[in-house]
Amino acid sequence: MTCRDTRNAKKQAASRAGVRRRPEYPTEYVRRPLPTGAKRRAQRQVTRLRPSLVPGTVVILLAGRFRGCRVVFLKQLPKSGLLLVSGPLVLNGVPLRRVNQAYVIATSTRVDVSEVDVTAIDDAWFTAGAAKQRAARRLQQKKRQAEAGEMDVDKPSEGRPPEKIALQKQVDNALLVSIKKETLLKEYLQSRFSLTKGQYPHQMKF
């Protein structure tokens, strides 16, 4: 008989005799479900931004349609944690827009945004009417396909509701006041960022 056999035999005998086996593991552990995605997000409250990102920072967009554009960071949107930026639209064609902080370079240039009122803008401001817009765009696309050949790709902007246009103007005007205070800042925002020969981002200061 090996050692293990002896132990098993003892155990069996004990259970047959109705003696409760001593639990081998503590049972105090209470299973608590881990918070699911939405709950965890609620706990975390707000996405933490890099310290270089302060409202008023000029940021360089790195991807998407407006890649290379220098835009002004206005505020962080509380729910999604995304950055609210504006070109301003009149300078470089970038409208009020949400971007992820991973897709921007924060420069050390700052614009005074204390006079810019963006309290009305939150995530819902962007998503409201989005479905309608999408449907309109689809309709247009169909129309375009039907017409076939007559391309007018840049039309979706006509679907922009007037109140959004008004707010964009209001934000831009307030921004422009502080932008004009610094020489060349306007031209700077109008220009696009690009890497050139001999420029290595790990050595550069932004």
Binding site: L62, A63, Y103, L195, P201, H202, Q203
Partner: protein, 113 residues
């Protein structure tokens, strides 16, 4: 395809797979980024996305619905390789050996500046 108006990536060169004398690790490719000379320099590029853009014979649909010959394999920088600024990149699909010696684009995102 018209040249993009701005270059927002660093130029990288695919050197080969990660390997030892008699073994290859095709899951990881070694990439040399222009201007990156030391291991310390590579810290900036850790986690950055890498794109191997190439031209193929057959045209494929893009997401926009247009046809294009250009294709892309995406990857991510996973760490330094040695002390001379070479990095290891993991591609979504292992990069083909025909890519050795070819250009890759090292994107500036995810950014931490």
């Amino acid at each position: 395809m018209a040249k993009e108006p701005v270059r927002l990536y660093c130029k990288g060169l695919v050197l080969g797979y990660r390997r030892s004398q008699r073994r290859q690790h095709p899951q990881q490719a070694r990439v040399q980024i222009e201007g990156v000379k030391t291991r310390q320099d590579t810290v900036f590029y850790a986690g950055k996305r890498v794109a191997y853009v190439y031209k193929a014979k057959t045209e494929k649909h893009t997401r926009k619905g247009t046809l294009t010959r250009h294709r892309c394999i995406w990857g991510k920088i996973i760490g330094a390789h040695g002390n001379t600024g070479v990095v290891r990149v993991k591609f979504a699909r292992n990069i083909p050996p025909s890519a050795f010696g070819k250009r890759v684009r090292v994107m500036l995102y995810p950014s931490n500046i």
